[in-house]
């Protein structure tokens, strides 16, 4: 083995040698392989399953379905994580009901993967099928979305937007749509579980080991400490790796069989089972004076949810904070359909919502004859329009100016043979949250320091950034810090989500370091005890308010600039330049921060040009449910993206002065690209993705 090299990402060497172990890389001796079986109807119930042919296959151990599956408790969650728990989705094989095409109706357990998969095809499932409705169409029965932590209130009216719109010198009234999009982390959901000593150990692919531990403990009526969830490395999440049925199924099977169980979802099954971004239909109306100053903003969102869980894509929420329009109206309406349950996908609400808003703002700039950078600057609010509170910091204008300078804004559109070249801009924003977390620090007599907490690396660089935070808080060189994460037996930590992981974990570490340094002061010149010194730190997160006690609005901002090249004959759009400048407080680990923002922008490019899950309403499921049918950007689609940030000091946002960046990069990218397409061609594409046919249909 090559000696470990010190890299900028502390677990980088493990990832380039194959040493990093993900959930399905783990094995217990003599595992039973589990092949989940999905419903082939969209609505109804399972009357019976003939398992005889499957059970006759050599190596098949059992077939689980609702008639023989053990009954489970309803999952519980603390208030902070309740939003991540979908009780009806987790109640796997608990009833005969079928609420969507692709829902799990059975599972085959066998000594080999080949036997399990073969036997799954031999099950004869008899359904009672009911008529279903799986189409989000005009005239669908809508209701106001229920309030949730990311969407409260669902409807809001400030001032008199209708009157302000009617009296405006310039108005925009446009309808934007975004399709269903799937997370598709390259690592499928997987759990390897073993029932041992009246408890269970799970190697599981998730965004928060403690979150999964709590759900499993509740559903199987176990004390938390009898459930250990290990998730040392996780192959991407993007919102899809909260508590999922696959983990519940694995625990159910290992408890029943008394043997370890390994289950992995197939890529195709992931399209129904682990969430997706709801399609949205958005109407945006803007009213402004001829100088581009906004008087009214109306943003109305329609999204879909499933029959068994309410989730509403909160696409108009950021609109409440973006610009200084005195009259505003935002609504979210939901169609409950017989479809798979949509859920949070990287920057829920913000990504599709800002495509609509930032496209509309660009349309306003065109009508007013203003530069779109200048128009945004003219509408910069002095305080948060949503709450009236001052911002902990807001540097959108600096991002716009710095980005414009670096991009060379704005080159005129040009023609290069049959290719048209243009450029566009859009703003990025994302709320900055901190959630309750704890962390333990231990200073060893040999001069090393261990930081331990149940944080998760889903690609966010957790080990690297937590090393940097600990090193700074303890005034020690990073080489002497060891980070232990990815295990529910470590101190309780928030999941990696809502761009809040680093802020939450880091705030707890800063608190632990303060306590540890106090112990060191007390110790004076005496040597450290043989076991070293330990301190447990915590943060209450947003519940505790800001460090200085002042009430503030907390958001990160950014500006994205895109250059596109549109083949006017084929309709193909290629992004030739993409530049993002962000304001996200203190950047704690520049190397991994740059990658996260780059990754967000890459996913934003993919959203703009490629991604679309096509649901066939006749069957109620996605017809392009694999990676050949569902296109994500490949290496050939992505130019050399430029990422930068401004120096931003923020002593209000949290103890670190740092804002989350995991989602910021995807917000605004699609609008910047669509705006560039308009600049190049004069064609305004209001429906994502910008596939060639939309360009061809828009040609004069």
């Amino acid at each position: 083995m090559t000696p470990r090299v010190a890299g900028p990402r502390v677990d980088g060497w493990d990832k380039v040698t194959g040493a990093a172990r993900y959930a399905a890389d783990h094995s217990f001796d003599g595992p039973v392989h589990c092949w989940p079986v999905s419903s082939t109807i969209a609505k109804g119930r399972v009357v019976s399953i003939d398992t005889s042919a499957a059970l006759a296959v050599p190596g098949v151990v059992a077939v689980l379905w609702h008639a023989n599956a053990p009954r489970l408790h309803t999952p519980t969650a603390d208030p902070m994580s309740a939003v991540l728990v979908k009780p009806a989705e987790l109640a796997v094989l608990q009833s005969d009901g079928v609420a969507y095409h692709g829902q799990l109706v059975a599972a085959v357990l066998a000594d080999s993967l080949e036997a399990a998969r073969h036997a799954a095809g031999l099950l004869v499932v008899e359904y009672e099928q009911l008529p279903h409705d799986a189409e989000l169409r005009p005239g669908a029965r809508l209701r106001v979305a229920p309030p949730s932590p990311g969407l409260d209130p669902p409807e809001q009216t400030i001032g008199n937007p209708a009157a302000a719109l009617a009296g405006a010198e310039v108005t925009i009234d446009a309808r934007y749509t975004t399709p269903a999009e799937h997370h598709n982390p390259i690592e499928p959901h997987a759990t390897v579980a073993a029932w041992q000593d009246g408890g269970v150990v799970l190697y599981d692919a998730n965004q928060g080991a403690h979150l999964i531990q709590g759900v499993i403990a509740g559903m199987f009526d176990l004390p938390r400490d009898r459930v250990r969830v290990v998730s040392a490395h996780v192959g991407g999440g993007f919102g899809a790796k909260g508590p999922q049925a696959v983990a519940v199924l694995a625990v159910m099977a290992t408890r029943m069989l008394g043997r370890p169980v390994k289950v992995t979802l197939s890529r195709q099954q992931m399209f129904a089972l682990v969430g997706y971004r709801s399609p949205t239909v958005q109407r945006v109306r803007l009213g402004a004076d001829r100088a581009g100053r906004l008087a009214a903003v109306i943003h109305e969102v329609v999204a879909q949810t499933s029959a068994i869980h309410d989730f509403c894509e909160p696409a108009a929420v950021l609109t409440r904070t973006m610009y200084a329009a005195p009259h505003r109206h935002t609504t979210h309406r939901l169609a409950r359909l017989d479809v798979p349950t949509p859920f949070m996908l990287r920057a829920p609400g913000a990504a599709p919502g800002m495509f609509a808003l930032e496209s509309a703002v660009d349309e306003l700039a065109v009508v007013c004859g203003l530069d779109p950078v200048e128009l945004r600057i003219r509408n910069e609010p002095a305080a948060d329009p949503d709450t009236g509170l001052p911002y902990s910091s807001r540097n959108l204008v600096r991002c716009l100016r710095e980005g414009a300078r670096a991009f060379g804004w704005r080159p005129p559109p040009r023609r290069d043979g049959h290719r048209l070249v243009g450029s566009g801009v859009a703003a990025s924003a994302h709320p900055s949250h901190t959630f309750p977390s704890t962390a333990q620090l231990r200073l060893h007599p040999d001069g090393r320091c261990t930081v331990a907490l149940g944080a998760t690396d889903i690609g966010n660089g957790a080990r690297t950034v937590l090393t940097a935070i600990t090193a700074e808080a303890m005034a020690m060189p990073p080489e002497r810090i060891d980070v232990l994460i990815g295990d529910s037996s470590l101190p309780l930590a928030a999941p990696a989500g809502a761009s809040a992981g680093t802020a939450s974990w880091g705030s707890a570490i800063v608190d632990a370091a303060r306590r540890l340094r106090a112990q060191l002061t007390e110790l004076g010149d005496r040597p450290l005890p043989p076991d070293g010194l330990t301190a447990l730190g915590q943060t209450l997160g947003d519940l505790a308010g800001t460090p200085t006690g002042a009430q503030t609005a907390k958001y990160a901002f950014g500006a994205q600039f895109a250059e596109v090249c549109v083949d006017i004959d084929s309709g193909e759009v290629r992004v030739t330049r993409l530049l993002g400048v962000f304001a996200a407080g203190k950047i704690l680990s520049p190397h991994t921060a740059r990658s996260q923002l780059l990754g967000g922008m890459t996913m934003g490019l993919s959203m703009a040009l490629h991604e679309e899950s096509v649901l066939d309403s006749r069957f109620g499921d996605f017809v392009n449910g694999d990676l050949a049918g569902y296109h994500i950007a490949t290496c050939a689609d992505v130019p050399d993206i430029e990422v930068g940030w401004i120096d931003e000091t923020d002593d209000q946002v949290n103890a670190l002065g740092a804002k989350g960046i995991g989602e910021l990069g995807i917000v605004g990218t699609a609008a910047a690209i669509a705006n560039a397409v308009h600049h190049a061609t004069g064609i305004r594409v209001r429906d994502l993705p910008i596939h060639p046919h939309r360009i061809l249909e828009g040609r004069p």
Binding site: G12, E187, P188, H233, H591, D626, C635, V638
Partner: protein, 175 residues
């Protein structure tokens, strides 16, 4: 279940060489090379991202050329040399590893074993003068510019979005 000569007809005896080690095994003929590596030999570097030849996470080298191990049956790689990310050796692989770390050519790291095997295969293809769909002069040795790297690495998906860094890493490793 045995036939007249005492063999189990539902299994096939194979010899495969993985990262230099020879394994004589009796396998279910349906076993893919990927499942053999991961489930039978505990070689878990190659990853199963789609099991359909669409994501590239399972890429390994077979007699030096990159293949998708989820689409290769074990019985078809009899006596051939399989190299996974764990077994990548030599100067080229070592430079690629270092440049992937230096340029952060990954985030979650799940696709990385496939990306690295693919990159080793790519550099070898250039050495052998194998053109890609993007190569204009089919007579000359391909020039490994950014466009060639992007084209030749597009069989390996990365959802974290590290492509720009992957391209930089491969360009740097080529020197």
């Amino acid at each position: 279940m045995e036939d007249a000569e005492g063999r189990d007809p539902s299994r096939v005896d194979v010899v495969v060489r993985v990262n230099g080690d020879e394994h004589a095994l009796s396998v279910d003929p349906r076993t893919t090379l990927l499942d053999l590596l991961r489930e039978k030999l505990a070689v878990t570097g190659p990853k199963k991202g789609c099991d359909h030849g669409q994501c590239g996470a399972c890429t390994v080298l077979l007699d030096g050329r990159r293949v998708l191990s989820c689409l290769a049956l074990t019985v078809a790689v009899q006596d051939r040399a399989v190299v996974t990310v764990e077994g990548l050796g030599g100067d080229v692989a070592e430079r690629l590893r270092r440049e992937f770390v230096r340029h952060d050519g990954f985030q979650c790291g799940f696709c990385t074993p496939g990306q690295l095997c693919s990159a080793v295969g790519l550099l070898d293809e250039i050495e052998r003068g194998v053109p890609s769909a993007r190569t204009e002069n089919l007579e000359a040795v391909p020039v490994l510019d950014g466009g060639e790297i992007r084209e030749r690495m597009s069989g390996n998906l990365c959802r974290c979005g590290a492509y720009a860094n992957i391209v930089r890493a491969i360009a740097a490793a080529r020197g």
